[in-house]
């Protein structure tokens, strides 16, 4: 395989990805050989065309997957990029006499530019609006091209220089060129999927808020992915134009084109480079053959095939063929023997956390936030010194999680300041605050069930801006600290509830936070499980990590917290040593009601 030497790409790849990549690259190379060998035997020109379309559509599917598959933002308008590429090639051949060898790369650049221009306003939109806007762009271009009078652009015949114009007399050469395109598309996809970038994108799909709280910049990541995806789609569109020889707005900007790229990827499998390949191999010959055989009698059969394919796959196997088959195979395989101890003792003495200057590390002053008339957090001030563990308690709905959200920038505060090590965090966005050293876990744990534990944890290191070997080292150390290092290669989907909690903790640790905000890390755990996680937390405390923790299980809090801060109705009720706080009448009142408190003090 040309252009892809795993060794030279190692720095951008994730640890452990090299072996997987080599294996997949070999398998793919084999597939290409089989394809070319089989293709060279086909004599019928229609089937030659059909075989040429398979890799082209696979490349379009790959480009869709590169953005939507990894980031989880479904694009319904990839035809915008395909069309840009196709029209660039067609117009420059027809009017400027430029060979596709130049116009395809130029189209790819334009596709990337179009992606950035589309991304700039569109990434501000959420959920449904994003989907609708993406649907609108190619249709808008379609109308504009119709208006400009490019209803039908034919590529002029260039019989004298077939190689220069990609107009080979022997259509088997088309297959070779299409295979070349697919190799490029597949190479890019393979590197992205196994790189820090790809993993960061997947982290966005999993939980954008948590990913940003880990320090990832969602907009930049999405923009990069869309630009890459747009460029690839445009390149595929350019070659598509060369093969079809005639370009019409409906054929390249139409809704069916967008849908086709999406269907191919979703049918085969989302979020894996094998998906679009499988999708194209199954669907393109099916649709094209039906179109050729019965298209005259039953027009529109192609659209019906794609429509049915997508409905079928969504109802039967929403993740696509690849994952469904793989999950089934994995279930059949005998389970790996369960590790003897599910939390391993530490192997070596790990280095303590970085030493901070004396004096308060995290200072919160006068923090307030109201939702409508409800003052969720009202003038809260406290400070945490390095190495301290502060427990925040209070009844349901007291505003504890909102307080965390204000500290790490999930929500803007109405008033008040937060400083970390003397530096103000005011006005910084969520991921910037994370990068300055505020780590955070959330009540809901979300993992990449199909990726190994190490990959799940290393995202935290990438979020903090660590790269390559440093990131891997940080992730390994975090696994060691949480006692999960013996499970590094286990798929996260197979972890127990407790291990998932610890994984979340490890992910936050991998970013080397200066302060860790823990939101109900023990929720939903049984007694013994609680004890195990507490042991880990105690160990972290003893190593000098600064922690602010929200927790309901009071006996757990008594074990690890140096001090309690009691919050009720958004206000601070009390602060002090755990036992003094629990005897405080106002605290008993907040938890049990005023009458109970009155009775106790009697």
């Amino acid at each position: 395989m040309s252009g892809l030497h795993p060794r030279s790409l190692l720095p951008v790849l994730r640890p452990g990805a090299g072996r997987r990549l080599r294996r997949d690259a070999l398998l793919f190379a084999l597939m290409i050989c089989v394809y070319l060998a089989a293709g060279s035997l086909v004599k019928n020109s229609y089937y030659q065309l059909m075989l040429t379309l398979v890799p082209i559509w696979a490349a379009m599917g790959l480009s869709w997957n590169l953005f939507s598959g990894y980031s989880g933002l479904i694009s319904f308008g990839h035809a915008a990029f395909i069309g840009v590429g196709a029209y660039t090639v067609a117009l420059s051949a027809a009017y400027l006499c430029v060979t596709p060898w130049l116009s395809i790369p130029a189209g790819a650049v334009l596709g990337g530019v179009a992606a950035v221009l589309i991304g700039l306003p569109t990434f501000r939109l959420r959920g449904h609006y994003f989907a609708l806007a993406m649907l609108a762009y190619p249709l808008l271009m379609l109308y504009v091209l119709q208006y400009l009078g490019f209803q039908e652009v034919a590529l002029p015949m260039q019989r004298e220089h077939p190689a220069a114009w990609l107009q080979f007399a022997d259509r088997r050469m088309d297959m070779l060129v299409a295979a070349g395109l697919l190799v490029v598309a597949m190479g890019i996809s393979m590197v992205v999927e196994n790189s820090a970038f790809g993993l960061s994108l997947m982290a966005l799909r999993q939980n954008e808020l948590a990913a940003e709280a880990a320090g990832l910049n969602p907009r930049r990541l999405k923009m990069k992915a869309l630009a890459l995806s747009g460029a690839l789609a445009a390149a595929a569109g350019g070659l598509y134009a060369c093969v079809l020889l005639v370009v019409t707005p409906d054929a390249v900007f139409g809704m069916l084109t967008s849908a086709q790229a999406l269907v191919i990827a979703m049918f085969g499998g989302v979020g894996t480079y094998w998906g679009p390949l499988i999708g194209a191999i199954v669907l393109i010959p099916l649709a094209e053959t039906l179109q050729a055989e019965v298209g005259d009698i039953i027009p529109g059969i192609q659209g019906v095939v794609y429509g049915s394919a997508i409905i079928l796959i969504m109802m039967v196997a929403p993740d696509g063929l690849f994952w469904t088959v793989r999950d089934r195979l994995q279930r059949r395989r005998p389970m790996a023997p369960a590790p003897a101890a599910d939390i391993a003792p530490m192997r070596t003495q790990v280095t303590a956390f970085r030493t901070e200057a004396a004096g308060p590390l995290l200072v919160v002053e006068g923090l307030s936030r109201a939702f409508g008339g409800l003052r969720a957090v009202d003038d809260v001030s406290f400070s945490v010194t390095p190495g301290q563990v502060l427990g925040i308690i209070g009844p349901n709905g007291a505003g504890k999680t909102t307080l965390f959200n204000l500290i790490n920038g999930v929500l803007p505060a109405d008033a008040g300041t937060v400083t970390l090590g003397g530096k103000s965090l005011g006005g910084l966005s969520l991921h910037q605050i994370a990068r300055s050293g505020v780590g955070r876990t959330f009540q809901v744990v979300r993992s990449f069930p199909r990726l190994p534990l190490l990959d799940n944890v290393i995202v935290g290191a990438y979020g903090a801006g660590l790269e390559g070997a440093v990131a891997a080292e940080s992730a390994c150390l975090a696994l060691e600290r949480t006692g999960l290092h013996h499970l590094a290669a286990t798929l996260a989907g197979g972890l127990t509830n407790k291990q998932q909690r610890l994984m979340e903790l490890a992910r936050a640790l991998a970013g080397r936070p200066r302060v860790l905000l823990l939101d109900e890390t023990l929720a939903g755990l049984g007694h013994e499980e609680c004890d195990d996680v507490l042991l880990v937390l105690e160990r972290l405390r003893d190593e000098g990590l600064t922690i602010v923790i929200i927790e309901h299980t009071m006996h757990a809090m008594l074990r690890i917290a140096d001090e309690f801060l009691v919050v009720d109705h958004g206000k601070m009720l009390a602060r002090g040593s755990p036992h003094s706080v629990l005897e405080d009448r106002r605290v008993v009142e907040a938890y049990l009601g005023s009458k109970w408190a009155a009775k106790c003090s009697k």
Binding site: G373, N396, G397, M557, K595, W596
Partner: protein, 238 residues
């Protein structure tokens, strides 16, 4: 009237309720207290049918509730005032109450019920045309209770009606609940975090901790028991 026997609920691999049994007799006031995360709301949701039960049974006036779809249970005369109020934010106060009267017996007695609700909570009458989403927390709680009453229920289930409310408002809400129990003869099942108030009102109380009933008894016994306090603060080891 309501018999819950050996009810178990689990979601996402976490066992939220394990073999919970409790009984409510007609015209009784029964309270369930327990620390956060003990499974109180899950108990209510299982009775109402919005979370499925894994085992055990729930009978209301002899009918097997678990065999009925969730939406049919309201028609039997059970009203559930959910945690966090859950009013219909985009509908007016009056429309929220009308929605409460959706079951057949509610529509029959709608006019009388409306008079009663407005008598209990005059504030709702003043704001009857206002969007529910623009009400304050206390007003939304009144509306949620009013919506529950609108179907002229025989059993009123209230989930943490004092949550997030200022003490004075919470006291007023408790006063109204007690009034509804005394004057309208509605059977009440209450889940509360304010133990003292809740236990004071009740005939019978249960303490729920990590999905199990750990204490039960008449209110006089429970309110003297320090184990309630320890359980509530999550100090454990009962």
């Amino acid at each position: 009237m309501l018999e819950v026997t050996d009810l178990s609920v689990a979601y996402g691999g976490v066992r939220a309720l394990q073999g919970v049994s409790l009984s409510v007799r007609a015209a009784q006031f029964v309270t369930v207290v327990g620390p956060n995360g003990a499974g109180k709301s899950t108990l209510f949701k299982a009775i109402s049918g919005v979370v499925p039960a894994q085992g055990g049974s729930v009978h209301f006036e002899g009918k097997d509730l678990l065999a009925l779809p969730a939406s049919d249970r309201a028609h039997l005369g059970i009203a559930h005032v959910p945690e966090g109020r859950q009013v219909f934010k985009t509908m007016s106060v009056l429309e929220n109450l009308e929605m409460g009267a959706y079951p057949r017996q509610g529509r029959q007695h709608w006019h009388r019920a409306r008079e009663r609700i407005f008598a209990l909570f005059p504030r709702l009458a003043e704001r009857s045309q206002q969007m529910a989403g623009t009400l304050s927390g206390g007003e939304q709680q009144m509306l949620a209770i009013g919506r529950g009453l609108a179907c002229s229920p025989r059993l009123l289930m209230l989930d943490e009606p004092s949550m997030g409310l200022a003490p004075a408002i919470a006291d007023m809400i408790f006063e109204r609940i007690s009034q509804i129990h005394r004057e309208d003869g509605v059977t009440i099942l209450l889940v509360e975090q304010r133990v003292a108030e809740a236990l004071e009102l009740c005939d019978n109380g249960y303490v729920l901790e990590t999905g199990r009933i750990v204490l039960e008894g008449p209110h006089a016994t429970l309110s003297q028991d320090d184990r309630v306090r320890r359980s509530y603060l999550g100090l454990g080891d009962i």
